[in-house]
């Protein structure tokens, strides 16, 4: 089976000469469709850089990254934007919802940007929000929701439109433990229910343990990983 996300000997450096900092030093990683992979490691190990590269938010200094078989380096700016709109969802620690839009309008936004009619976009947004356990008051604004609920709206927005890959960068970082558990449980349900592959960056073992596979980074390199858990035993 073709990997949905592939890193082949990827290097990422910032600066040059004596000030060069190598954030990633030869990362090779493949994430299968519908697989949930957690990435752990100490601060500054390159976890977030890895996620930025996967989401085409940054470009690698060397090596190849493919999403669903497409090499990211071959995409122009428009192609990268389209990839982020259609194929890859991103969830951050900060709750990046648009405050002037209601919950449902936030989730409809990527669909409408793709030209989907408002009626079907609304229906799909409701479906995505319900999958996140949000059934009521969807016409209220983000500030009317708790932190955990806002993060669930952000995840619904990140996966709406059957995107194949969700990249989550410390999505529980601003939540209390109980809300964080709820959010991770909902993220963990995406691969088996919808076939979405998930790459989760976290420093919390309790959240990483939901993943099928945990990859450990240190000093920009993968130093170890847990054996992959077969889909049948998830």
């Amino acid at each position: 089976m073709t990997a949905i996300l592939e890193f082949d000997d990827v290097v990422k450096s910032y600066g040059s000469g004596t000030t060069e900092v190598r954030a990633l030093r030869g990362i090779t990683l493949a994430v299968a469709p519908g697989e949930f992979v957690a990435v752990m490691g100490p601060s500054g190990c390159g976890k977030s850089t890895l996620l930025h590269l996967a989401g085409a938010l940054e470009t690698p200094s060397a090596g190849t990254i493919r999403v669903d078989g497409r090499e990211l380096a071959a995409l122009d700016a428009a192609g990268r934007s389209e990839l982020r709109r259609r194929d890859v969802g991103y969830v951050f620690q900060r709750l990046n919802l648009i405050p002037a839009l209601t919950a449902i309008e936030n989730v409809m936004l990527p669909l409408e940007l793709e030209g989907e009619p408002a009626r079907t976009a609304r229906a799909r947004a409701i479906e995505a929000l319900e999958a996140m356990g949000l059934h009521e008051q969807l016409d209220r604004y983000p500030d009317d929701f708790s932190g955990g609920q806002q993060q669930r709206i952000a995840i619904a927005r990140a996966v709406v439109g059957e995107r194949q890959l969700l990249l989550a960068d410390e999505p529980t970082g601003s939540l209390d433990t109980a809300s964080g558990d709820e959010v991770i449980e909902l993220i963990a349900a995406l691969p088996p229910r919808h076939g979405t592959a998930v790459v989760l960056v976290t420093h919390e073992p309790r959240f990483a343990s939901w993943a099928d596979r945990v990859v450990f980074l240190r000093d920009g390199r993968i130093v170890d990983e847990t054996p992959a858990i077969a889909a049948a035993t998830r």
């Binding site: 752990m40 100490p42 420093h203 073992p205 309790r206 990483a208 343990s209 939901w210 993943a211 945990v214 450990f216 240190r218 130093v223 170890d224 990983e225 847990t226 054996p227 858990i229 035993t233 998830r234």
Partner: protein, 178 residues
């Protein structure tokens, strides 16, 4: 704790025979501590010898057909003392993981990091297994769930400690003092 304290705790709820004690002991401990009846009766013999339990006397008189045991006043006192005793990490706390990592540091940073990484990966795999346990046993007891919670929280604590060890090994390299 030993089987002895467990039996005293169960008998505080009223007289029980050896088989009842075995079944209840295993249920209370969430299935992580299986007992055989022989162990139960051996312990009851010792508790009787020490004056902490005796044959049940429901009407104030002994009945040879009644196979149940009950606490004596001394037994209740012993049990009360056990409830109040705080589990102590008597120095030195000889924790296997801790000692392994401490010895690993004597062979240099690189070896210590290798050992920490291997232990961390194994602990995370255990945590993944604990996390999945509820999905395969939806009707398990509160005791079993509490045992699972304990295993998860302890694995998390060990993982956190390994993170701290790694940070301490990195501290001199990065010019920090801790």
């Amino acid at each position: 704790m030993s089987v002895r304290e467990g039996l005293l705790a169960l008998l505080a709820d009223g007289p029980r025979n050896g088989h009842q004690l075995k079944v209840e002991f295993e249920a209370v401990t969430g299935g992580v501590w299986p007992l055989n009846v022989g162990q139960v009766y051996t312990t009851l013999d010792r508790l009787t010898r020490d004056g902490l339990v005796m044959r049940a006397r429901p009407n104030g008189e002994s009945d040879t057909n009644d196979k149940r045991f009950e606490l004596t006043a001394e037994g209740r006192e012993e049990l009360a003392g056990w409830w109040q005793l705080v589990p102590a990490n008597d120095p030195p706390p000889r924790d296997e993981l801790m000692l392994k990592v401490l010895f690993a540091t004597t062979l240099g940073r690189s070896h210590a990091l290798k050992v920490i990484t291997e232990q961390r990966t194994a602990l995370l795999a255990q945590l993944q297994a604990h996390r999945r346990a509820p999905r395969t046993a939806p009707d398990d007891s509160a005791a079993a769930a509490m045992v699972r919670d304990a295993l998860i929280v302890r694995a998390e604590a060990d993982l956190r400690w390994l993170d701290l060890c790694e940070a301490r090994l990195d501290a001199p390299r990065k010019g920090r003092s801790r």
